[in-house]
Symmetry: C2
Subunit: 230 residues, 2 copies
DNA sequence: AGGCTTATGTTGTCACTGTCAACATGAATA
DNA sequence: TATTCATGTTGACAGTGACAACATAAGCCT
């Protein structure tokens, strides 16, 4: 379908997507309207239907783009890390940071269009994000900075923690500023990664330093049919 | 406003609320419609406007009722615990269990109507839920089963963890059944509570037992203007 | 009792939305 | 050059949230 960019409006699809992302960032996904997006793009209502089967399908695409940006945020944040363990923690901070900057977009990505087809629908991008996290975990394990157990429970735990922090912070349920929320993310990550999960015997663990502020976890997403371990 | 139950329809408000809760449980908050609720209650559209200023206000009330049920779920789950620490963990399982049983309702409670008035709007019920959690944490601290540090960071961490597990599981992002999700919640809780947060020196910690399955965290919600500690 | 006020519910209406069908247009292709 | 098909437009329809005007019955006050 994605020809080059011939025709009338020269790649409308992307223009619509951008307008949708912007609009959602402004008013949120509930007030968000297909027709308004069309207006912004200076096309008639119904023009979007040549590129998206429905409003929900547009939202799915918006979500996909969000996952790309989320991955970018995590990767950028990780880059500052000097050890696998630190990169893992910074990865989580990148996750929370993205969520705080684009709360509406984040909501669309995780809470909006249960896309009918059950298993792993639009999750392609989400899987990539989860892959980044898993990468961090296994790297830390390989470096001996994390117990060499099944990485999945570890990754899930870390993911759930940062995701929970992000959602609660967005909802205004944590009485913390954005900065403090990031700092808290580091703190909480440290708590989690300090000790191996109960199921698996410990392995050498480095205490990163004192306490203060600068910790991270990781974050990602996907619903692959991993071999379960619990 | 809540007189006895005189008038035409004998306490419509509650009928509408029940219908709304039911409808949201069926089709979710996006497909949910004021007019449909009115139909179910056998009143004209616009009848709801005598009891709720807008659709969003109805949703806020639905959310409030959800928090009551959430608290009930946590309390019921806690009741089985034999030690403060175990009760804390079971509290978290009750949290996740509620979310898995009523995913739509859960979404309304945490992700829907940013209720205009900034600070702590409909959070009255949410504060109560958070209070339950905080109770559990301080009880465990008093029993020496948790480090006697500031309970807030501990409570936030635990809350974020179970909230994250709940949201991810609802979204189908954890490849785990409902049962396995609860078991994983216990597992992850154990991981978290096993060691004091980095900021505060450790205190005697009981290793509850081996590994297997039966752990919990806790869960709650609120956005009180607590004195922050991070 | 009678009359006022007010809480409650109804009818009618409006702008707006998502979606469908029918039509128009211009690019690529034969 | 004629055909075809991707793209965009116009027009319509049912359904929605919200408002205004109206109807009714409960409660209250002499």
């Amino acid at each position: 379908m994605p020809r080059s960019q011939p025709y009338h409006h020269a790649n409308l699809r992307q223009v619509l997507l951008d307008a949708a992302v912007a609009r959602i960032g402004e008013v949120g996904p509930r007030a968000f309207t297909l027709r308004e997006v069309a207006r912004r793009a200076d096309v008639s209502h119904n023009a979007p239907y040549r590129h998206f089967a429905s409003k929900d399908e547009l939202l799915v695409s918006v979500a996909a783009e969000g996952f790309d940006r989320l991955i970018a945020s995590m990767r950028k944040s990780m880059a500052r890390g000097k050890s696998p363990r630190e990169r893992l923690e910074l990865c989580g901070c990148g996750y929370v940071d993205f969520a705080l900057r684009w709360p509406h977009h984040f909501l669309v990505m995780f809470d909006l269009p249960r896309p009918a087809n059950d298993c792993e629908p639009s999750h392609a991008a989400g899987e990539n994000a989860f892959a980044v996290l898993l990468e961090c975990v296994t790297a830390a394990q390989a470096a001996g900075e994390l117990p060499a157990s099944d990485p999945l429970p570890l990754a899930w735990t870390a993911w759930a923690l940062v995701h929970g922090i992000a959602k609660l912070a967005i909802g205004g349920n944590l009485p913390l500023s954005a900065r403090a929320t990031i700092a808290f993310t580091r703190h909480a990550s440290q708590t989690i990664f300090r000790v191996p999960p109960a199921t698996h015997p410990a392995q050498p663990l480095r205490k990163s330093s004192q306490a203060a502020k600068d910790e991270k976890i990781k974050g990602a997403r996907a619903s692959p049919r991993f071999s379960r371990s619990l």
